[in-house]
């Protein structure tokens, strides 16, 4: 018997337990996988009204200039680690990008927000220790790196999310998709962005950990708002066609294979200057051998991560990287990598499930329309 390592808790741990959450270990944290309503109801709550998620396990990092430097120096430094255009990111704007390695593989995916005088980063819980070490090793000569581990992060997602938060911070409705701003509420500085990982309109709110529970209680007083756990977070992001690090993307997949070329702006494509740029530039110019696609298995049986994908002649084409039940789609959905000549929508393939082949169709992502409110 090995002893279980002690799990970390978020500032909202007591509230989760009070709300009847089933807590599970996730990335070293005790996290709510579901509340008594159950994953399907929580999924529908987010699609139809507003779901409230604790994502405080994710890493929040502030990058600012060292002695006499400017924000542009910080942006230039970060561009040495990620393929997105950070230098031209305007204050109050947010961008999705990846930390890449020398092979063009993905070390983690993250959000970068320009706050005018610093950059605010949100990285995955499971990667945050290595991400912070990576930034300390590569950026410490030019950037102050401050880990904001005294802050909680919550996501309020769904078509009624912004209206619910506007009851507390009326001006938040002025944000459009991928914009961010700060507001003071009850003496706390909140950093609010109109973004999320469910495919819905909504907000992510960074709040001092000591004030997080009070803020959640106020939001949960709204009849349109209910708590949602990691189970529904996973089915929501899968329906939205969004990658889960460690599953759909990792060090063996490049942003181009993963269908994330949209996150690499034109200047960076031509100039390079990020880890793995030669590999990624070559793939942009000449194509890739395999691509991430959406898959709709026939019937009702979910096909899960790891299932082999075959063409109709029985030749292996790739592997499912995420799969489950799409509550809004009303059936099984999956994502995986297939040979590029099988990546066109409507291509018929087979997924291996318990020794049998399940017919499946390559499907354009996302599986459900996005609810983002763009400017």
């Amino acid at each position: 018997m090995t002893s279980e390592p002690e799990l970390l808790t978020t500032p909202l741990d007591g509230l989760h337990r009070e709300l009847g959450a089933r807590m599970v270990p996730f990335a070293g944290y005790a996290m709510p996988v579901q509340y008594p309503a159950g994953i399907i109801k929580e999924h529908e709550q987010t699609r139809n009204a507003a779901g409230l998620f604790d994502v405080s396990h994710m890493g929040q990092v502030r990058l600012s200039a060292r002695h006499g430097g400017t924000l542009e120096d910080v942006a230039v430094a970060l561009e040495g680690l990620v393929p997105a255009d950070i230098v031209n990111l305007k204050p109050g704007r947010q961008r999705y990008t990846q930390f890449t390695n020398a092979d063009g593989g993905i070390l983690d995916d993250l959000m970068v927000t320009s706050m005018g005088d610093h950059l605010y980063l949100v990285v995955n819980a499971g990667c945050k220790v290595q991400d912070i070490a990576h930034m300390r090793a590569e950026l410490a000569d030019r950037c102050e790196i401050e880990v904001l581990d005294d802050r909680a992060l919550i996501a309020l997602q769904g078509p009624k999310a912004v209206a619910a938060f506007a009851n507390l911070v009326p001006d938040c409705a002025a944000l459009s998709f991928m914009q961010a701003a700060t507001w003071d509420l009850d003496g706390d500085r909140l950093l609010v962005s109109r973004s999320g990982y469910t495919g819905e309109d909504g907000l992510e709110i960074s709040v001092p950990g000591k004030s997080a529970e009070a803020l959640l209680r106020r939001l949960l007083d709204d009849p349109d708002v209910a708590p949602v756990g990691l189970g529904a977070r996973d089915s929501l992001r899968l329906e939205a066609g969004l990658c889960l690090y460690g599953h759909d993307i990792d060090t063996t997949t490049t942003p181009i294979e993963a269908g994330l070329a949209w996150s690499i702006q034109k200047r960076r494509r031509s100039e390079g200057g990020f880890p793995g740029a030669p590999v990624i530039q070559d793939q942009l110019a000449n194509g890739v051998a395999r691509r991430r696609v959406g898959l709709r298995p026939e019937g009702r049986a979910p096909v899960r991560e790891g299932a082999v994908i075959r063409d109709l002649s029985g030749n292996a084409s790739g592997t499912v990287t995420s799969g489950g039940f799409g509550a809004t789609v009303g059936g099984p959905i999956a994502m995986g990598y297939v040979a590029s000549d099988h990546a066109e929508p409507d291509t018929a393939l087979e997924l291996e499930l318990r020794g049998k082949g399940v017919p499946a169709t390559v499907t354009a992502l996302p599986f459900v329309p996005q609810g983002y409110q763009r400017a």
Partner: protein, 125 residues
């Protein structure tokens, strides 16, 4: 009190003559969460005690349903194919999985009655 008997794997069996109806316990459905798919065996298949007889998939994961005793499948609950949520809604009733003709009634002796199962659950917590 019902004549339902339980296995340590959280399946139940209820006997009517030599025919046993098998399902998963209320505790099991709660642990599974929302059931979205059930794969049932073919009629006539021989199932073996403590071996897989069916598959149940929740939103999160696939799990095996083990047969508490050996026997031959004589009926399956086809309604679960279209309405797997019955497993959550009525695990001891409409959410049954299969009926088998039990080979060896003495295998039932190793199962728990309601009271013993509730004690077993209390020890798990």
């Amino acid at each position: 009190m019902s004549d339902r008997l339980y296995s340590k794997d959280h399946e139940w069996i209820e006997m009517d003559g030599d025919i046993g109806t098998i399902g998963v316990s209320d505790h099991a459905q709660e642990q599974l969460g929302d059931v979205v798919f059930v794969e049932l065996p073919e009629i006539g298949r021989a199932v073996v005690q403590n071996e897989e007889a069916a598959v149940v998939e929740s939103v999160k994961a696939a799990s095996e349903v083990y047969s508490p005793v050996s026997g031959e499948v004589v009926e399956v609950n086809e309604t679960l194919t279209d309405d797997p949520a019955q497993v959550n809604a009525d695990p001891h009733g409409e959410g049954w999985f299969i009926r088998i003709r039990v080979d060896d009634m003495s295998q039932l002796d190793g199962l728990m009655d309601e009271e013993a199962y509730q004690e077993f659950l209390a020890e798990l917590d």
